[in-house]
């Protein structure tokens, strides 16, 4: 992996590789600040999808003809790239899934359903995305187990001092996001994994937000499962990844049946294929899974460390500039404890009005509860406006965001 120092990171040249960001809108180039929802794709990823479609598309793992063989090869290559990107030993520990949401449901129900009993506890946090909240809520209801929350500090970090009170011998599963999609908070995953293992529980990491933005090492963090989505890491929609420690992955029972997850079916019973195929029911999102490997290549070539440093410098500058705006309130800890996401409200400015006014300036943010209603309830607001940054954002984008907020304040007669 090439290591470039942050100062040599050329955001303009990164940006130029993203066709959609170089469109000219009425307001100029789009200022895309919604990568936490879905990132844009570089030409390399789009070209790979085209290559597969135009040159050798076929269904996977079935065809005894050259296209099919090429597809299988490409899929396995993608698995290997993903494995090494997150520090996993082998491509066979990577199961393709539709995205973080389906992946977390597979882990929750495939691993938890047969293991949880009344009296057992599942520990999550109030900052979880609904995808890492609702499956557990449903699972404990079904099994008679209990759902517990790790408390937050006033600035939106996990309260480390409460860990030992909440994670106890009754805990069977600790499921946390590696980074909050609203507060931006980066959670101490390896510490949580250690404590979970100490009481005989497993650690499930929702990596949707952190995997695209900072290095992941599933071995040193010692997580049992890690799930993330392709579309947030400059890859296609419709594909995601479940990583499992080799023994854990074997412990997940399939919850979706049919297709190449089957090895044998009789009138009375069925047997499953080996892992990871066992967890990949139906036809895979083939083109997407292959192009996800290309997205990972792109991140590696650009340099994840330098992307991270660049995004953190945008975060620091944006935070500083936004805090100068009267009535500004940012939710979440200070930049040193978080990734490049800023959820905010401006006093007397409705978050959707704000997002609509920013749109008029070509600044694309998201408003609402961001699929974290329990967190918003805790924050005491129904909605926030969120700006999230990625490799292709520039200091100019930060500047345009600040000016667009000023524009909104003027239009809504706050100045």
């Amino acid at each position: 992996m090439s290591r470039i120092t942050p100062s040599s990171f050329d955001a303009e040249s990164v940006r130029s590789q993203f066709p959609v960001l170089n469109r000219e809108l009425k307001q100029g180039r789009p200022v895309f600040l919604d990568s936490a929802a879905s990132a844009q794709k570089p030409s390399a990823v789009i070209a790979k999808e085209r290559e597969v479609e135009e040159q050798y598309f076929a269904n996977a793992y079935r065809g005894r003809y050259s296209f099919g063989a090429r597809i299988d090869e490409e899929l396995e290559a993608s698995r290997k790239k993903i494995a090494s990107f997150i520090g996993a030993a082998s491509g066979s520990q990577i199961a393709f899934t539709a995205g973080t949401t389906l992946g977390l449901n597979q882990v929750a129900f495939g691993w938890g359903r047969s293991r949880l009993q009344p009296g057992d506890e599942v520990v999550i946090t109030p900052m979880e995305h609904h995808a890492n909240f609702v499956p557990w809520q449903q699972l404990v209801r079904e099994t008679g187990a209990t759902l517990k929350m790790l408390p937050l500090t006033a600035d939106g970090r996990l309260d480390v001092t409460a860990f030992d009170d909440v994670i106890t011998r009754r805990t069977k599963i600790v499921a946390v996001c590696t980074m909050s999609n609203v507060l931006g908070t980066v959670n101490p995953v390896s510490d949580l994994a250690r404590r979970a293992h100490h009481v005989g529980a497993i650690l499930v990491a929702d990596g949707a937000q952190s995997v695209p933005h900072s290095p992941t090492d599933v071995l040193s963090d010692d997580v049992d499962f890690l799930v993330f989505s392709g579309h947030k890491i400059y890859g296609p929609t419709g594909v995601g990844v479940i990583y499992g420690r080799a023994d854990r992955l074997e412990e997940i029972e399939p919850i979706v049946f049919g297709g190449h997850m089957i090895s044998r079916v009789t009138m009375d019973d069925s047997e499953w294929a080996d892992t990871p195929a066992r967890l990949e029911a139906g036809t895979l999102p083939i083109v997407q899974a292959i192009a996800l490997g290309t997205a990972i290549d792109w991140v590696n070539q650009t340099g994840l460390e330098s992307i991270h440093a660049h995004e953190q410098s945008l975060l620091a500058e944006a935070t500083r500039r936004l805090m100068e705006i009267p009535g500004m309130r940012i939710y979440g800890p200070s930049p040193q404890y978080k990734g490049a996401i800023i959820a905010f409200r401006v006093e007397n400015l409705h978050p959707e009005d704000l997002a609509a006014m920013l749109d008029r300036r070509g600044v694309f943010t998201r408003h609402g509860h961001h699929c974290t209603m329990p967190l918003h309830e805790l924050l005491g607001v129904t909605a926030t406006t969120r700006a999230s940054f990625a490799a292709y954002n520039t200091m100019e984008d930060v500047d345009k965001l600040v000016h667009a907020i000023q524009f909104a304040r003027e239009k809504l007669r706050l100045v």
């Binding site: 409705h350 959707e352 009005d353 609509a356 008029r360 609402g368 129904t382 239009k411 809504l412 007669r413």
Partner: protein
């Protein structure tokens, strides 16, 4: 109460006047500013009207709506008032009030509000949550009209 209502009505322009002004505007930028202006002119609800019962479901922004039948010159018309925490939604409320105010329940039920939204290009410029919210308000108004139809 009656005084408050007439105050509202004085400020409501007819839907034809509103459309004329709206369609004279150059683009969505100006139209959005116009909606915001309407929003600023819309009278605010007092705190007691902002209760749970008056909240319109399906809106991401908070919307409170009161619609009551009133007899004026021997005919029953539906008197509608509404408020929101969003200024753009308040502008949309002003559009709805212009379309629906002083109408009999039957006239309200007969009005093709979708055609109005189409004509104003609202479906194109509003987010799906805002469109849902707008339809939530329309449903509430129509159901009140329906229950006052004779």
């Amino acid at each position: 109460m009656a005084g408050q209502v007439s105050l509202v009505q004085i400020r409501i322009m007819s839907i034809d006047e509103l459309l004329e002004e709206f369609e004279d505007l150059l683009d969505w930028e100006e139209q959005c500013d116009f909606l915001i202006d309407l929003g600023f002119e819309l009278p605010k609800f007092s705190a007691d009207l902002k209760n749970e019962e008056n909240i319109v479901k399906g809106c991401q922004s908070l919307v409170w709506l009161v619609a009551e039948p009133e007899v004026s010159d021997g005919v029953t018309v539906v008197c509608i008032r509404a408020d929101s925490d969003s200024m753009i939604v308040r502008g949309l409320i002003a559009v709805l009030l212009a379309a629906y105010s002083e109408k009999t329940p039957q006239q309200i039920l007969d009005l093709d509000i979708e055609a109005l939204f189409q004509r104003m290009g609202l479906n194109q410029h509003l987010s799906s949550t805002r469109r849902n919210g707008l339809h939530g308000m329309v449903r509430r108004i129509r159901s009140i009209a329906a229950s006052n139809c004779t």
